[in-house]
């Protein structure tokens, strides 16, 4: 990218900025037209309904839309905009492997390289054979075209067969390298650059090189950049071929890895800040899909581009270096204007080696246990009381995050009315967000809330509730498929209302089941069902396959609230919270009440036995035969079949657990602590 190009880019960037401010000013008036348009835009089957919904919200929406836009603008100045944070690229910013660009061209110098140290040689040649080959071919091809010798059509038609490339290349490149003998074309220059790059790994040396370059460039600044033909860099007295190759090849060994990494880190930071300034709108984030193309997006028009990816990567790095050299106080510059839009995750980028280091260096942990504490496990109630007594930190900031999200509500509703579904992700409990949405906008609409974090949600229960409570279907069918069909039929009927399905933690423990997601996906697919869900688990996307994702048709919104997951974690068996088992005990009581007297007797017999032998360490359940014997003695059952029928019922309600002992005997236990059982027994005797 030459200096002119760079400048224009900056200009256009600042132009964008100012135009944006203009736009926000103008919003207030264009909004009404927008309202009209959004109505015109609708053309779906149930257009009428949507039009109604839009037109109802239209005045509000356009107002809020304006607000939103203003606020987005505001946020982008106030904050690091939560929206950009979700960049997929943050997971893996590709760093061009230092060996890669080298590979092809170093081979061209193979004559020299062969005498170089073998360690480096293997590093260069060990990988990416075919990459190297193809690059070689491309270079050859390029040269064949640019070379002044007129090539015949036939030659061009079969461009760059490897053999031709190989034989043709060294000589031609040699002539190119010998300097400005012929009019320095861009390619030659470029090749020079890339060759010079190839001889040393980018980051480490780049500092020194770019410094020297900037020094040599400093007096008249116009041509900062190697792209332009007559840069001092390319013309500058390059040291002769051989020593250069050697010197640079030796260099990387000298630079310690740590230094290299530091430099790279700083470079990437500088680059980011530069991007944030130059165009803070969209280019600042890259998806993994577009790694190689990103710099193309940024490229100004006058820049000629290499169609070859490798050199693009090189260019990319080149830019970094330049930015490092020409923009020393970049940090200051970056912070002056727009805030950084992209969170820097590069330093923390996960590398595969981390996995192995984690698993190999499993250093011993200390043998301390929680028993050293005065009270190793707090009870749930005590924990809640202690936390409630404490003022929350960052209360104002968290509230601001919530209000920011509130502004998005109309946006969500608009998207939802056009057949999309909303998925909220990000750190913090999103219960409040959906709850606020429900209170503010869905009060008069038909809606249903599903608490996915609850450990007892089942698809059948969900559908039953939906049919009975929401859709007023008396006596719904019992089979899952039939239920789904009933819902579908009910909602397909003309005049059926739109149903808003709010799902907290769509990836909750019980929601991960295939059946559950199948049901939700089927529901979400219906045109009258609008799904607004939140996802919390870091691996939540694994729940959906291609087909389900298409059915869900999600729009993803970053709804980071940083609020505590109080409600969500209260059901989980937390490691540090004492299991009060209030829940288990109360459920036990409920089931117990519905049992026949004989069944109660069997259970009490089993429980008593367990309490009696609580201290016995070898006890691992009551054998079935023993239980049968005792039950017969107490006239509780008359046959083993009857006993088994009772036990099946217990098992279904999770009152007992059966286990096969090593000798094949079935052993029965009550899966509760002895203290709890005795408490239960005592309450039984009372009543």
């Amino acid at each position: 990218m030459n200096s002119a190009g760079r400048r224009t880019r900056k200009d256009s960037g600042s132009g964008d900025n100012s135009s944006r401010t203009m736009r926000t000013r103008q919003d207030s008036t264009i909004k009404d037209i927008n309202g009209v348009l959004s109505v015109r835009f609708l053309d779906d089957a149930d257009a009428l309904e949507k039009i109604c919904c839009i037109s109802k919200t239209a005045p509000k929406m356009s107002r809020v839309g304006e607000l939103l836009r203003n606020s987005q603008h505001l946020i982008s100045h106030r904050a690091g905009t939560p929206m950009t944070v979700a960049d997929p690229d943050s997971e893996s910013e590709p760093e061009s492997p230092p060996a890669q660009p080298n590979a092809a061209l170093t081979e061209l110098n193979s004559a020299q390289l062969e005498v170089e140290d073998t360690v480096r040689g293997t590093a260069v040649f060990g990988f990416q054979r075919c990459h190297r080959r193809s690059h070689l071919r491309r270079v050859a091809e390029e040269f064949a075209q640019k070379s002044p010798v007129k090539t015949s059509a036939a030659d061009i038609k079969s461009p760059g067969t490897p053999r031709r490339g190989c034989s043709g290349l060294p000589a031609s490149i040699g002539s190119g390298r010998r300097g400005g003998r012929r009019p320095v074309s861009r390619t030659v220059d470029d090749r020079n650059r890339s060759r010079s790059r190839s001889r040393s790994p980018p980051p480490a040396r780049s500092r020194s090189r770019s410094k020297s370059r900037s020094r040599s460039r400093s007096p008249p600044p116009p041509q900062r950049n190697g792209r332009t033909p007559s840069t001092p860099k390319s013309a500058a007295g390059r040291t002769p071929q051989t020593p250069r190759g050697r010197a640079s090849a030796a260099l990387p060994a000298k630079t310690p890895q740590t230094v290299r990494r530091k430099v790279k880190l700083r470079l990437s930071k500088l680059k980011q800040e530069d991007i944030a300034v130059s165009d803070d709108d969209d280019d600042s984030d890259v998806s993994p899909l577009e790694d190689s193309s990103e710099d193309e997006y940024k490229a100004p028009m006058e820049e000629e581009e290499d169609d070859d990816e490798e050199s693009e990567e090189e260019d990319d790095e080149e830019e970094e270096e330049e930015e490092a050299s020409t923009v020393p106080p970049a940090a200051v510059r970056g912070r002056g204007g727009a805030p950084r839009r992209r969170p820097e995750l590069e330093p923390a980028a996960v590398s595969a080696e981390d996995y192995f280091s984690l698993h190999s260096a499993g250093g011993p942990t200390s043998n301390h246990t929680l028993s050293r504490l005065s009270e190793p496990r707090l009870s749930g109630a005590a924990l809640r009381a202690l936390l409630d007594a404490r003022p929350t930190d960052h209360a104002a900031e968290r509230a601001a995050l919530l209000t920011d999200l509130e502004i998005m509500f109309p946006h969500w509703l608009a998207a939802v009315s056009h057949g999309f579904n909303i998925l909220l992700h990000g750190l913090g409990s999103k219960r409040d967000v959906l709850e606020r949405l429900r209170r503010q906008h869905l009060r008069e609409r038909l809606h249903m809330v599903v608490s996915g974090y609850h450990p007892s949600v089942t698809p059948r229960q969900l559908l039953l509730t939906l049919l009975e409570e929401a859709l007023d279907v008396p006596a719904p069918p019992s089979k899952l498929e039939a239920q789904l069909e009933a819902v579908e039929r009910r909602l397909a009927a003309p005049g059926a209302p739109a149903l808003f399905l709010l799902v907290h933690s769509i990836d909750g423990p019980m929601m991960r089941a295939e059946k559950m997601q199948y049901v939700l996906a089927r529901l979400a697919q219906l045109p009258r069902v609008h799904l607004l869900a939140s996802a919390d688990h870091i691996n939540s996307p694994l729940v959906w396959d291609q087909h389900k994702l298409a059915q869900f048709n999600f729009l993803w919104f970053d709804a980071t609230t940083l609020l505590p997951y109080t409600e969500e974690t209260s059901y989980e068996n937390s490691l540090l919270v004492r299991q009060t088992a209030d829940l288990a005990l109360s459920s036990l009581r409920h089931v117990f009440k519905s049992l026949t007297p004989n069944a109660r007797g069997i259970f009490i017999l089993l429980a008593k036995n367990q309490v009696e032998r609580a201290s016995d360490k070898t006890f691992d359940g009551m054998p079935l035969s023993e239980l049968y014997q005792r039950c017969r003695d107490a006239f509780l059952v008359s046959s083993q079949v009857a006993l088994r029928a009772q036990l099946t019922e217990f098992r279904d309600h999770k009152l007992i657990r059966t286990r096969q002992s090593h000798d094949g005997v079935e052993q029965l236990t009550v899966p509760l602590e002895a203290a709890l059982i005795s408490e239960f027994l005592a309450s039984c005797e009372d009543s």
Binding site: I33, V85, A153, R390, G426, R489, F554
Partner: protein, 655 residues
């Protein structure tokens, strides 16, 4: 805007031919009654699963309309056992036959449908005949009779229709998902009934035809007579879609280069789903109209005047501030710019300029189609193999300035006469429908090329002898290889300089063509007012369509200040910890320092050390316990039995 109807039509059309063939095959399948094998149409659908719902729905519709009323579509989800499968199948087959046979003593499905919401479903189920194969046979025979009997028209007509029994078609959606056992049993069962019921199958296979044989052993597949049908490739569908919908002149809305590229990338590297592409396109459209103020002018040309009339002063100012407009204004003369400051004049100017957006796009398309046709035959696929690639390139860059363009003309300038004629014919074909000036240019060019003489200019004897002498001289004079080479090169250049008439014409033609194309292919971002119709907010689209939940969670944990925007938690170094950070972040950061197992007690001590002694021990313990529970909920740690009071880390790396 009839996008959805457009896309629907187009999908119907795409599968027209395949369906047509299949339907013919299935209609013919009734006749082979004596044969025990079941006629089976294997429809290879491709891996774009999300699109299949629509494909099979329209297939079933067509079958019902054209072949038979007895169609059952089976899905793996509802066919876990043979019993369930038979029930689903028979239900669907008989239900569809219902309207044909109102007298059959089976509960009328229509009636049931109506009263389903009032009458308990259970009872209606019981009233229905049992869903078994014998019941199906009985039902089918009854249905056939009722079809045949009321036709008391002319005997000739009756004779023609009577033998035509309606087949029963069972469509297996996504065959690979079924249990092999169920599938085999059902095939065997159906083949038993083949003599009485003209059953035929449609297998929807998404991988390859051999999947059928992988699922069915030989003795089962021997009962089938398989016939293979290929559905349209998803990429073809996409190409058609882009051509018919995105590039259609009736569509005022356009995708920008980067947005289109993202959508294409999602399609090509992610799901191959045309439906998803359409949905993403719809999202772009929605965003454009809802959130871009300039979209006020994005409408049909005939509505434009009205819209411009409605513009308020602020809106005009906004339009004036559009980057493309400003760039255009800056290039104008001072006076003209002054006159345009006036709102009325500006509006007129808008009315003058805005319709050009559409014509410009048309021009761009014509130019591109021509250029694409020219490059198509050239080696190296300079502009890509599909038109969409060329289109995307033209949106992203100023194409005439690019290498690809230059190389195209370089290569064209080496074509022989036959090749050039063929290429020009192709180009002419590509643009002929557009009625643009380019087609006439191409036609005249073609005529000229055909007329020209491409024999080399005869070399006179004198000249050739001179040449020979020259060569001999050089050979003698050459003292080194290098000098020989140089002299040979110069000689070659001298000879090449003399062109024959065809070559002269060729370069002239290409220059002319180049000039025309440069005029046509203008990057949309250069058009004034392009923001009105072009949507290119790629980062928004990416954030919405390509979710990245994990990175948002980890960013918030690693650097909460990015979200909270507080001054107290600014981190100099990514790895550092501030006591002011939210508890969860502190606990998370501490856990990053651990290996696979984490000692809870030590972890808590570290937490205590970071947050300081502001709270009593119990409170700190409570805070810590809550955070651990949250981390567990988020999936960073899990409990483990390997060591007392330890938890296992589930992530790795330092983020």
């Amino acid at each position: 805007m009839a996008t959805s109807s457009l896309t629907k039509d187009f999908q119907e059309e795409m599968f027209n031919t395949v369906f047509h063939e299949m339907i013919e095959y299935l209609q013919g399948s009734v006749d082979i009654e004596e044969d025990a094998s079941i006629p089976t149409a294997t429809l290879i659908t491709g891996v774009n699963m999300p699109d299949h719902t629509g494909v099979f729905r329209s297939l079933a519709e067509r079958l019902r309309a054209q072949v038979t009323a007895h169609v059952a579509v089976l899905e793996a989800a509802s066919c876990a056992t043979v019993q369930a499968t038979v029930r689903t199948m028979v239900r669907q087959l008989t239900a569809a036959g219902e309207p044909l046979s109102p007298d059959v003593p089976v509960v009328d499905e229509d009636e049931e449908d109506d009263c389903l919401l009032d009458v308990p479903d259970q009872t209606s189920r019981q009233r229905r005949a049992p869903a078994t194969m014998p019941a199906l046979v009985a039902h089918y025979e009854a249905a056939q009779e009722t079809v045949a009997s009321p036709k008391k028209g002319s005997p000739r007509k009756r004779a023609r229709t009577a033998p035509q029994r309606r087949p029963l078609v069972v469509v297996w959606r996504d065959l690979e998902a079924f249990q092999p056992r169920v599938l085999q049993d059902l095939v065997l069962i159906c083949s038993q009934y083949r003599s009485r019921l003209p059953i035929s199958f449609v297998f929807g296979v998404s991988t390859c035809a051999s999947a059928v044989h992988r699922l069915l052993p030989q003795h089962v597949s021997a009962r089938l007579s398989l016939h293979k049908f290929h559905s349209q490739l998803a990429t073809h569908c996409l190409a058609e879609m882009i051509d018919k919908v995105l590039l259609s002149p009736s569509m005022p809305f356009r995708l920008g280069g980067r947005a289109l590229r993202l959508l294409l990338d999602i399609f090509l590297y992610h799901d191959f789903s045309v439906n998803n592409f359409i949905s993403a396109y719809k999202f772009c459209m929605l965003s454009h109209f809802l959130w871009s103020p300039a979209s006020a002018l994005c409408c049909e040309p005939n509505q434009l005047e009205e819209r411009v009339e409605e513009l308020t002063g602020a809106q005009v100012a906004g339009l004036r501030a559009l980057p493309s407009v400003r760039a255009y204004l800056d290039d104008l003369e001072q006076e003209e710019r002054h006159t345009l400051q006036h709102d009325g004049v500006f509006k007129e100017w808008v009315l003058h300029m805005a319709p050009k957006l559409h014509s410009k796009h048309e021009e761009l398309l014509v130019g591109l189609r021509c250029l694409f046709a020219l490059t198509k035959r050239l080696p190296g696929a300079l502009l890509g193999k599909q038109f969409r690639e060329a289109y995307n390139l033209a949106l992203l860059h100023a194409l005439p300035e690019r290498d690809e363009y230059k190389r195209t003309f370089q290569l064209l300038s080496m074509l022989s006469r036959q090749e050039l004629t063929a290429t020009l014919e192709h180009a002419l074909e590509a643009v002929s429908g557009s009625g643009s000036a380019l087609s006439t240019v191409l036609r005249t060019q073609l005529d000229r090329v055909r007329a020209v003489d491409d024999r080399p200019t005869p070399v006179s004897a004198e000249e050739s002898s001179q040449q020979r002498r020259l060569v001999a001289d050089t050979l003698k004079q050459a003292t080194s290889r290098q000098s020989l080479r140089e002299s040979l090169q110069s000689m070659g250049a001298a000879r090449n300089a003399r062109l024959n008439p065809y070559e002269t014409l060729r370069s002239a033609l290409l220059a002319e063509l180049d000039e025309h194309l440069r005029g046509l292919i203008v990057q949309p971002s250069k058009w004034p007012f392009n923001e009105c119709v072009v949507f290119d907010d790629v980062s928004l689209v990416r954030r919405r369509l390509v979710g990245a939940p994990r990175s948002s969670v980890q960013t918030a944990l690693a650097d909460p200040a990015k979200y909270l925007q507080c001054t107290c938690c600014q981190l100099g170094d990514a790895a550092s910890i501030r006591p002011t950070m939210p508890d969860l972040c502190i606990v998370y950061k501490l856990h990053l320092e651990c290996g696979r197992l984490i000692n809870l007690f030590d972890w808590m001590q570290a937490f205590r050390a970071v947050v300081g002694a502001s709270d009593d021990d119990q409170t700190i313990q409570a805070r810590f316990a809550h955070c651990v529970a949250e981390l567990q909920f988020l999936g960073f740690i899990k409990s483990t039995q390997r060591k007392t009071d330890h938890v296992a880390r589930l992530t790795w790396g330092s983020c």
